[in-house]
Each structure stands twice: as structure tokens, then as C-alpha cells.
């Protein structure tokens, strides 16, 4: 038993993933501590999960580079020419599972750090997003494995490091916007009234899984032959085309409205509905809405019978609060939501004289 433990420890200590672990953890910490990354999560788990997964920006390149290095090491050691009983893929798996573990550890630490800042009162991490993160990570590692197989580690390792980083960082700065939804790196989504669209999650996952499938095809033969590479290229191209088809309708954000059944409602004059993340603010919001309703009723103005944070549940009294809003901010939001802030559609811009009254009316309602 001791011998076996010694073997595991001896083997493990040489893996580049072990050496890269402190680097990855430090990078994850610095990334999440950087300005704005975890600033406006509003206690909303889908948003928090996406921010946690966005740490792939620093995790995936290191993992891809480690995979390239490890497979390059096997290549230099002649493992792929060795007429062994075990397939080359098994040798690759033995060398790269610590790399995968490194990535998963990085993601877990990222999620834990985000969770401490999230102060979520409802829900749990979005498993769809976590699954997408795992698939994207696997895709980057798969690319590292293939490059490590065909290139010298001295070339493959930096290529993976830079290429993986560029793939995650560059697409959000180019047009069309939909390209950004292929990478799995998203720090904009989502407000509490929306969630990431299904294809926003599926597209990067499909690409990641196709890269894994392509890498398996390449390793299906002992020697790098053209046919498996062509087959792998076809699989990856098909995956990219499917993913592009899925995200083509998206603009800047790949979001869809959040299901109304999640709303938490209370009060009766009017009925007030908030997202579960704002449940603690519901009594304040009900009180503010009732005050506004009473004040306006005294002037003969009828307010809607329902006020809601959802834009899709049919009410015309739509407000927005956040988990960190003060009581006065909530009151302002409730009252201000009744006032049309834009002119009627028939008026030319800047000619709606009623617009000048908006701040005064809002101040009166708040008072």
C-alpha cells in the first residue's frame, strides 16, 4: 500500500498541473478581485455562476498549455510509438486528468469566491452554466492535447496559452455580436429579470464537446494520419456551424426573460411581485406601492392593481429594485415606475414639454 502511495505521489509531483495550481489560484483570485467582475450580482445565482465561469479566461489557457506540455512529454518519451497493450488515449488520459482536475479546482474556487460575494438568499448555482463551463474547459484541454501530439512542446505550450486566451478575450470586440456567444466567456449577463438563453449555454458547450470528440478521433490511431485529422476537422466544423446557427439571432446579450413563476408576490393594494432575490425587500416595496397608490387615488388617478419586477407578466407598473437598495431608493423606484419617462411616440425628440415635469412629479410622489 505504501509503495502504491509512493508511486502515485512520485508520478503526480511531475505533472505540470501540480506546478500550475498555485498560479491558477492566484490568477483566479486576482481576476475576481478586479474591478467590476463581482460588483453587481444582485444575489442572483445565474449571474453569479456566469461570473464564476468567466474565470475560465485565466484557467482555460493554463490548462490547455499544461495539456500540451504533458502530451508533448509523452511524445518525446516515445510513448506513442511504444507497442503497448494500453491505447495511446489511455496514456493521454493518465497524463491529463490532473490537468482537468486543475481546471475543475480553479472553477470551484472561483464559484466559492463568487458565492461569498453574492450573498444569495434564493436559488443555487446554475447547473446549465456550470456544465457549459466544464465543456468549454474540456474543449481547451482537448486542443492542448492535439497540439501537444503534433507539435514540439516548446511550440505547442505557448501556442495554447496565447491561442486559448485570445479565443476567450477577442470575440467580444468584433462584429457580429453573436460571435461572442460562442466562447463561453460572458460577464454581462444577467439582470434578475432575465436569464442566459438556452443557445447562449449550448453553443459554447457544443463547440467544446466537438473539440473533445475531434481530439478522440485524432488519438484513435497510433500515428498521426491525415484521415483522423480530416474527420476531426469535420466534427469541429460541424459543431461550430451548429453553434453559429444557434446564436445568430442574438445581439449583445444572449438572454431570455425569466420565468414569471419565480416571482414572489404580496400585498393587495396593489399586489406587488418581486424576484425571489429581493424577497427581503418585499414588505418595504408593498408599503411604498400602497402609499403611492393612496396618494394618487386622492387625486383621482387610478393606478394598476399589480406592480411587478417582471416585464412580461402583463402589468404596466414595472419597477426594479436591487438586493442592496435602500428603503428610499426602493420608494423612488416604485413611484418613478408609474411615470412615463419617454414622450409619446408621435412627438419629435426633445419637444415633449411634459418631460420637464417628470422630475418634479417623481419628487412629489416620493415625498
Amino acid at each position: 500500500m505504501n509503495e502504491l502511495i509512493t508511486e502515485r505521489v512520485c508520478y503526480g509531483r511531475h505533472n505540470s498541473a501540480v506546478k500550475a495550481l498555485p498560479v491558477v489560484l492566484a490568477l483566479v483570485y486576482l481576476y475576481l478581485e478586479s474591478d467590476g467582475v463581482t460588483g453587481d450580482l444582485d444575489g442572483y445565482w445565474p449571474s453569479g455562476t456566469l461570473r464564476a465561469v468567466s474565470a475560465l479566461l485565466v484557467i482555460a489557457p493554463v490548462c490547455a498549455a499544461c495539456a500540451a506540455w504533458e502530451v508533448g512529454r509523452l511524445r518525446r518519451g516515445g510513448v506513442f510509438d511504444f507497442p503497448g497493450v494500453r491505447a495511446p488515449g489511455q496514456a493521454v488520459l493518465r497524463s491529463t486528468w490532473p490537468v482537468a482536475l486543475l481546471g475543475v479546482t480553479g472553477l470551484a474556487v472561483s464559484l466559492a469566491m463568487v458565492a461569498t460575494r453574492l450573498r444569495a438568499v434564493a436559488g443555487s448555482p446554475d447547473l446549465r452554466v456550470l456544465g457549459m463551463g466544464a465543456a468549454v474547459l474540456a474543449g481547451h484541454v482537448a486542443v492542448g492535447v492535439v497540439l501537444g501530439r503534433v507539435l514540439s512542446p516548446v511550440v505547442a505550450t505557448p501556442t495554447c496559452l496565447l491561442g486559448s486566451y485570445a479565443w476567450l478575450v477577442y470575440p467580444p470586440s468584433v462584429l457580429p455580436f453573436s460571435i461572442r456567444h460562442l466562447t463561453g466567456f460572458d460577464t454581462d449577463c444577467c439582470q434578475t429579470d432575465s436569464r442566459i438563453a438556452t443557445w447562449g449555454v449550448l453553443a459554447p458547450a457544443v463547440i467544446g464537446l466537438c473539440l473533445v470528440a475531434g481530439s478522440v478521433l485524432v488519438f484513435a490511431t497510433r500515428k498521426p494520419r491525415p484521415l483522423p485529422f480530416v474527420a476531426a476537422g469535420c466534427v469541429v466544423t460541424s459543431g461550430v456551424l451548429v453553434a453559429v446557427h444557434g446564436v445568430r439571432q442574438f445581439g449583445v446579450d444572449a438572454v431570455q426573460p425569466r420565468a414569471e413563476r419565480a416571482l414572489v408576490c404580496g400585498g393587495n393594494g396593489p399586489v406587488v411581485c418581486v424576484w425571489p432575490e429581493h424577497r427581503a425587500a418585499l414588505p418595504d416595496v408593498i408599503q411604498s406601492a400602497a402609499s403611492v397608490t393612496r396618494a394618487l387615488a386622492g387625486l383621482g388617478i387610478v393606478t394598476p392593481s399589480r406592480a411587478s419586477e417582471s416585464t412580461t407578466d402583463g402589468t404596466s407598473w414595472v419597477f426594479a429594485v436591487s438586493a442592496v437598495s435602500s428603503a428610499s431608493e426602493r420608494a423612488a423606484s416604485i413611484s418613478g415606475a408609474l411615470i412615463p419617462s419617454e414622450g409619446p411616440a408621435c412627438q419629435p425628440p426633445h419637444s415633449w414639454r411634459g418631460g420637464m415635469s417628470v422630475p418634479l412629479l417623481q419628487a412629489w410622489l416620493e415625498a
Binding site: 512520485c10 511531475h14 518519451g77 516515445g78 510513448v79 507497442p83 497493450v85 493518465r94
Partner: protein, 248 residues
């Protein structure tokens, strides 16, 4: 229990045939494979090790064919191969490298780890178990290669130029090791150095241009030349004589 080549043909891409309908059957003990450069010795070794597959014909060991998907794993498990170039896995210790080779040959990790220690002791590297394999000398690395061949208790051992890079003392130790190994396995040794192996082998094959041009016992081989003196001198003379006869 023997290694058989049955009507094997093989060619490298866009090259003429190295073997055409080549047949051979191994025999117990140690067989030495001699031949000039380009005769096909290394290709034969690689075909026998299942590192290459024949274009036609079969290579089999005790009924297990190297080309059959179902039997290939068994075949490879039973055949060990020492190539000319030993790949050193960067950052691995000597023991890790040998254990890794055992694992690739199908041993469990713990079994391979234990077997590696024993195999390295047999090749006189017990004191270098934890030394990085990349820091070993050429001769030591060759002995690591031999340890990789014996770590999984192969029944057919193929050695391609096993004594290249070994000093005289190491060659002597290697001859002792061959003596030990032939008790449990058949050996096919490809070499240029007739003086090393004439003492320990019991069959000699001379390969030229992809054909066996001479096949016989060591005694018959040594009797081919009218030379006297040491066994090595007689072996060298016999080899030259047979090659000349073949050329003419």
C-alpha cells in the same frame, strides 16, 4: 510457443518492398539476427513487436496474431521490444519510467511499480531508482530499456542492437542477463556485434535484402570460416564469409 512470420510483406510508403512473402519461425533460446545495414533487421523487429503491421501475411506468437484486433493486446502483452533508441520521459525517475512501460504493457499500476524495482535490480540499476532518467548515461539508459522489456515478464523478447553504447564490463553483465532471460523467454537479438553474442546464442540468422540468407545453429555458423582463434574472431570471419557467398 514460437514467433511466426507467415508470408509477410511490408513496404514503407512509396518505397520498394522490404519483405516479400517472408516467413520465419523462432526457436527456443537465443537467436541472433545478423545482417548488413538496410537488410531489414529493424523492420523485422518492429513487425515482430507489433509496432508495424504487415501489408499482407501474419505475424503471430503462439497463435495470437499481431494484426487481429481481438488478439493484439495478448500478443503485445507477451512480446517485449527493446528499440535502438530508448525514449526518456522528461522528469521521470528511472523507476517511474520502467513502471510506466509496464503499465503501458497492461500491468496494474501497483504491480508495475513493484516489478520496476525488480527489473532495475536485474539490470544492475538498483542504486539509480530515483535518479531522473534524463540524467543517465547512454549505457545506463540502454539498461533501463532492457528493464522496460523484462518488467512485464515477456515470453518473447526482441532486442535491437542491445549492446550498443555499453562498455566491456556492461557487455559482460549483459551476457549474464541474457543467460538468465532465456530460461523464461525466447530471445531474438539483432546486432552488428557478432563477438558479443556468439557465446550465448544457439541459433544464427543472417538477413540480407529482406531474405534469410543463412539460418543455422551457432556451431554451424562458427564452422563456416576456416578461421582459428577466439570465438569472436571466428564469428566475425564466418559472418563475412556467408555475406560474401550470398553476394556472389
Amino acid at each position: 510457443m514460437s514467433l511466426r512470420f507467415d508470408r509477410v510483406s511490408y513496404r514503407y510508403r512509396r518505397e520498394p518492398l522490404v519483405f516479400n512473402e517472408f516467413s520465419l519461425k523462432s526457436s527456443p533460446g537465443v537467436t541472433v539476427l545478423l545482417g548488413p545495414n538496410g537488410a531489414g533487421k529493424t523492420t523485422l523487429m518492429r513487425l515482430a513487436a507489433a509496432a508495424l503491421y504487415p501489408a499482407s501475411g501474419t505475424v503471430s506468437f503462439d497463435g495470437d496474431s499481431s494484426t487481429s484486433r481481438s488478439a493484439r493486446a495478448r500478443y503485445r502483452r507477451r512480446v517485449g521490444w527493446l528499440p535502438q533508441q530508448i525514449g526518456a520521459l522528461p522528469a521521470f525517475s528511472t523507476r517511474e519510467q520502467v513502471a510506466y512501460a509496464g503499465w503501458l504493457k497492461g500491468l496494474g499500476r501497483s504491480v508495475a511499480w513493484d516489478s520496476a524495482k525488480r527489473a532495475l535490480a536485474r539490470v544492475d540499476l538498483a542504486q539509480h531508482l530515483d535518479r531522473p532518467v534524463t540524467q543517465l548515461s547512454g549505457g545506463q539508459l540502454r539498461r533501463v530499456g532492457v528493464a522496460q522489456v523484462i518488467v512485464h515478464d515477456a515470453q518473447m523478447i526482441l532486442m535491437d542492437e542491445p549492446t550498443a553504447g555499453l562498455d566491456p564490463a556492461q557487455r559482460s553483465g549483459f551476457r549474464c542477463l541474457i543467460g538468465e532471460l532465456q530460461e523464461t523467454a525466447q530471445l531474438l537479438i539483432s546486432t552488428h556485434q557478432t563477438e558479443d553474442l556468439a557465446d550465448i546464442c544457439n541459433r544464427v540468422l543472417i538477413l540480407n535484402a529482406g531474405r534469410v540468407c543463412w539460418d543455422g545453429s551457432t556451431g554451424d555458423f562458427l564452422a563456416q570460416a576456416d578461421a582459428s582463434g577466439s570465438t569472436s574472431a571466428r564469428a566475425e570471419a564466418s559472418y563475412k564469409t556467408l555475406l560474401d557467398e550470398n553476394a556472389s
